[in-house]
């Protein structure tokens, strides 16, 4: 499924459509978001390197990690980027507020730039410059300046620190609708922002990936909490929500394992959550009986003589003594009245006599 995401990003959007955009949610409980970002970046690099993708390169906007880190990452995967034509980095990590250039202007320190990256100053509330820089670097990636490229943004959280939600959202949606951007993906620390900001980003993106804590079973005590922490550093549940073109929503879940800076995705072992119950209106009646209801129904004592289980239930009719009737039913018996006062003599089934059907009951009347 992570492969599926990488392939979707590699293929990019169709002409006239907005580019697919992936949001990777990084949370404090399971901080594997960076690993996912690196994994996707290296996968896409391999696609570009082996020329399986229609994009000519990647433009990476680095906010939270140094461009050197990425160069080393890709070098460890076997791609040399120092003289690369397919990988450009916009360095917003070193000096986002432009202090060095201000100091350099006043002569305090020397202004030095790093390798293949361009140092970018992030102006407050003005991301248009960043947008044009991204496009400019993207055009450099292809020979004629018209090829499509992918954009990766290291951490949108850093952008949101300096700029407003609406300007960041506007930048991302403009990137999405730009003809030359084939796909883009970004990482966000969802704990750091208000729900409004994360909701806005999810609104703009077409895919959302979250790493959640993998529940561990059956441990208790101090050792459990430590191993839980260790567990969370290495394993997680990777779930992706995809907005399909036809309007349906696809949800996929996988297990994530990080070992020695390599990441593995395996299919999820247990069933997914049931989310459909909330969508459909609940009907007011239920025609099926639950287990408890069935048991209760079987226990009800019906007021008939024969309960269908072979025994005759004696219904207390005031004639028999207490001892005999107690053995048959569990009901409380009333005290038998004194026989001198009068009794009701009732014979069972004594009213089987046919009513006088031939005679007219009005014949008694002497009119």
């Amino acid at each position: 499924m992570a492969e599926w995401i990488c392939r979707t990003l590699r293929d990019g959007g169709l002409e006239g459509e907005h580019a697919p955009a992936l949001t990777i949610n990084h949370t404090i409980t399971c901080s594997l978001g960076f690993f996912v970002f690196d994994h996707i970046l290296s996968q896409l690099s391999s696609f570009i390197h082996s020329q399986k993708s229609q994009s000519s390169g990647i433009v990476l906007v680095a906010f939270s990690r140094s461009p050197l880190y990425y160069e080393q990452l890709l070098k460890s995967k076997g791609y040399n980027v120092s003289a690369s034509t397919w990988f450009k980095v916009l360095d917003c990590y070193t000096d986002p507020l432009g202090w060095k250039s201000k100091l350099a202007n006043s002569g305090r320190i020397a202004n030095d730039s790093l390798g293949s990256s361009v140092t970018v100053k992030l102006c407050k509330n003005d991301l248009d410059e960043l947008f044009s820089l991204i496009l400019h670097r993207g055009k450099e990636l292809s020979v004629d300046g018209k090829g499509r490229f992918m954009v990766a943004i290291d951490s949108v959280s850093e952008m949101l620190r300096h700029a407003s939600v609406s300007s960041v959202a506007s930048l991302l949606s403009e990137l999405r609708s730009h003809g030359q951007v084939s796909s883009l993906f970004w990482l966000i620390h969802s704990d750091l922002h208000e729900t409004r900001a994360t909701a806005a980003l999810e609104y703009i993106s077409s895919m959302k990936a979250t790493v959640a804590v993998q529940p561990m079973d059956g441990l208790s005590g101090n050792s459990a909490s430590l191993s839980l922490m260790q567990n969370n550093l290495k394993r997680g549940k990777f779930s992706v929500h995809v907005k399909c073109r036809n309007g349906l929503v696809k949800t996929m879940v996988e297990e994530l394992n990080v070992e020695n800076s390599t990441i593995n995705f395996t299919p999820f072992s247990t069933e997914g959550e049931v989310i459909s119950q909330s969508l459909v209106p609940k009907v007011q009646f239920n025609l099926q009986l639950s287990e408890k209801e069935r048991n209760d129904r079987a226990k009800v004592v019906l007021p008939f003589e024969h309960q269908g289980d072979g025994k005759n239930i004696q219904i207390y009719d005031g004639r028999k003594s207490l001892n005999e009737s107690k053995g048959d039913s569990e009901q409380t018996c009333f005290e038998k009245e004194d026989s001198g006062r009068g009794e009701i003599i009732y014979f069972h089934d004594s009213d089987d006599e046919m009513p006088d059907s031939d005679e007219d009951p009005d014949d008694d009347l002497d009119i």
Binding site: S170, Y203, H241, V249, S278, N286
Partner: protein, 364 residues
């Protein structure tokens, strides 16, 4: 289960519609509604039926979006296409930098040979007369509209075919980009002038349409100023009420605070919401028949009623959206297996596919 009020109330007195319609020449695209209102079509025949004939002139329709699915675009497309086919003035606003591009995706009315298949369906339904006796009254109305002349009140739109060029030649099509306007005051001015122009149209009523897509979209600068957006919608509603137009506004409740969302829903005369459904969900496939063809769910929470105190009570509020032959949008009642427990909730709560909301169920 059939609810108690499943037929529109009709006493022993019936309104003499014959006299009323003969005094005003029939205008293509408009028809008389109950209680002296005029209606225009939403572009989706099933939705018109559900809403009691169409959208009343002067009403504000609010569509709550689901951020995970573009179904509100389907509704807007049909609404706008219907307006262009009937040559009704249209103003469209969206947060994109170039809203004109959206006009290229508008569907074209379906050709007549496809209509025959629809009439055949209504005739088949008559075979179920015994079980669904009340439907024969509804069946008569649909057969009437199909036997209409060239200009129909509501067209069936083919979503695969784009609208022909000659429909766009009217002067009264305006597109506004919401992103460019820093505040909504300028946009409101534009809407007011549009409406006054539409009203003046040689004294004839044509019915104007205002379509505002994704009002609270995060790209717009005003999107964090909720009171401004709310007062814009309120003044838009008052201006539209005095005119012969219908305004459709869509917004996504996930982007704004709950109180704003509820206030906006209260402002609406007609309130509709669309929901996405998960793909290949086995639970839903067991619960609903016809799940494979469904693309989404549509709920009608409020229906506009003017000049009357009698509310519109619908049989059901939730419908499934299906694309018939991938071309036209149909809305159907959902047939579902009974589930135990009934927890009602207000229409303000949103149960999206990804969230695990416990109160996400609908009124029934």
């Amino acid at each position: 289960m059939v609810m108690a009020a499943n037929k529109p109330r009709s006493g022993s007195f019936s309104r003499n519609f014959g006299a009323a319609s003969s005094s005003v020449p029939s205008i293509p695209g408009l028809k008389h509604g109950p209680n002296g209102t005029m209606l225009l079509s939403s572009g989706i025949p099933d939705l018109d039926k559900i809403l009691g004939g169409g959208l009343a002139l002067g009403s504000l329709v609010v569509v709550t979006e689901d951020p995970e699915a573009p179904h509100h675009m389907l509704l807007l497309r049909n609404f706008m296409s219907q307006g262009l086919v009937h040559r009704q003035p249209l103003i469209y606003a969206s947060p994109a930098s170039d809203p004109r591009g959206f006009l290229g995706t508008l569907p074209s009315p379906m050709v007549s040979k496809d209509e025959k298949s629809r009439v055949h369906e209504t005739e088949q339904e008559k075979g179920l007369r015994i079980a669904w006796q009340y439907k024969k009254y509804i069946g008569e109305h649909t057969s009437e509209s199909h036997r209409g002349g060239k200009s129909e009140y509501c067209n069936d739109f083919d979503l695969r075919k784009p609208l022909e060029r000659h429909f766009f030649s009217g002067k009264q099509i305006d597109c506004v980009s919401l992103k460019e306007s820093a505040d909504l005051g300028a946009f409101h001015e534009r809407c007011s002038s549009f409406l006054s122009q539409a009203n003046q149209n040689n004294g004839n009523i044509t019915g104007g349409r205002i379509a505002i897509q994704s009002l609270c979209s995060p790209q717009c600068e005003y999107s964090n100023r909720e009171w401004e957006m709310l007062s814009f919608v309120r003044s838009l509603k008052s201006v539209v009420r005095l005119s012969n137009a219908v305004a459709v506004v869509t917004f996504s409740p996930s982007l704004v605070s709950t109180t704003f969302s509820i206030r906006l829903q209260h402002l609406a005369d007609t309130l509709v919401s669309v929901k996405a459904i998960p793909d290949e969900d086995k639970e839903l496939a067991k619960l609903l028949t016809g799940y494979q063809d469904m693309v989404g769910l549509l709920s009608v929470h409020k229906v506009a009623r003017f000049n009357t105190q009698v509310p519109a009570i619908l049989e059901t509020t939730t419908f499934s959206m299906k694309l018939q032959k991938r071309r036209s949008l149909v809305l159907e009642c959902i047939n579902q297996a009974p589930v135990d427990g009934a927890t009602g909730s207000s229409y303000g709560s949103s149960g999206s596919c990804s969230g695990s909301s416990k109160t996400g169920s609908f009124d029934f």
